[in-house]
Symmetry: C2
Subunit: 157 residues, 2 copies
């Protein structure tokens, strides 16, 4: 991995592919592309898929809850939900029966589309991790979790 780049500076290990942040972005970008591609026949975008998937795990979740799970703002999730609601894939009461929370549920049409989406996405996901044995995959996932925790910890400010 030499490449001393002589001229000006940084004779460091920065070969770009060795930077975790860069690889992260690259992989994320590639994954997003492939997911959009595989979901296009179902007329779903990746964020919409993520939303439906979350709803399967947490039926009756609130807008804010879904937003946090998808790493977007409440407002973004709200517009996402509207689109899905207009297509009849989800439903939520027009008015809250308690508090302001409008619990969201998948409709049967939503479940149907989601099932197709899941099998497609899993194919992409399987392809992504195909070069990794189970042990490596688990280690990578755990390592990423540690990185997340390190970034998010309140620290001392």
């Amino acid at each position: 991995m030499g490449q001393e780049k002589g001229a000006d500076d940084f004779a460091r290990e920065d070969s770009l592919e060795s930077l975790l942040g860069y690889q992260l972005k690259h992989l994320q970008s590639a994954l997003r592309s492939k997911m959009d591609e595989t979901l296009r026949p179902l007329e779903l975008t990746t964020p919409q898929y993520n939303c439906l998937e979350q709803l399967r795990r947490r039926p009756g979740a609130s807008n804010s809850e879904l937003a946090r799970g998808a790493f977007v703002t409440r407002q973004t999730m709200n517009t996402l939900l509207r689109g899905l609601q207009e297509r009849g894939l989800i439903e939520r009461p027009a008015t809250a029966e308690s508090g302001r929370i409008l619990p969201t549920l998948l409709t049967s049409a939503g479940v149907e589309v989601l099932d197709q989406a899941i099998s497609r996405v899993e194919a992409v996901s399987a392809r992504m991790v195909s070069p990794l044995d189970d042990e490596t995959q688990a280690m990578v996932t755990e390592a990423l979790g540690l990185c997340i925790a390190a970034l998010e910890e309140p620290e001392n400010r």
Copy 2:
């Protein structure tokens, strides 16, 4: 293939934190937040920083080249470059001397800002990987590279 998943659903290993794709998105989101935060005093966004950083590695790069390296479209990179150009951080000839390519260079002001930005971003990056020993970090980075290759390979279509 399989996917019997019994009655309702998947009593599989899907605890969400065990899904590589999810961890990927989570970490990317956290990293982006921290980078924006640390770059704000310099009035740089993360994409702008990425652009400058690329220019340091490849002085004279073309718009399209930078776009590919940053995983955005040419058009997006173009608007990004205009902003940086107006701020005097980069420069490129008004007209191409050969072909259509307008080679872009950092100005001295750009280098100055970038140097500050780099030290800040490296602090964030260091914090992110702090829970990982060098060996683990290298392994993770390599594993991500394998995933990227697996996703991007032309396959057989």
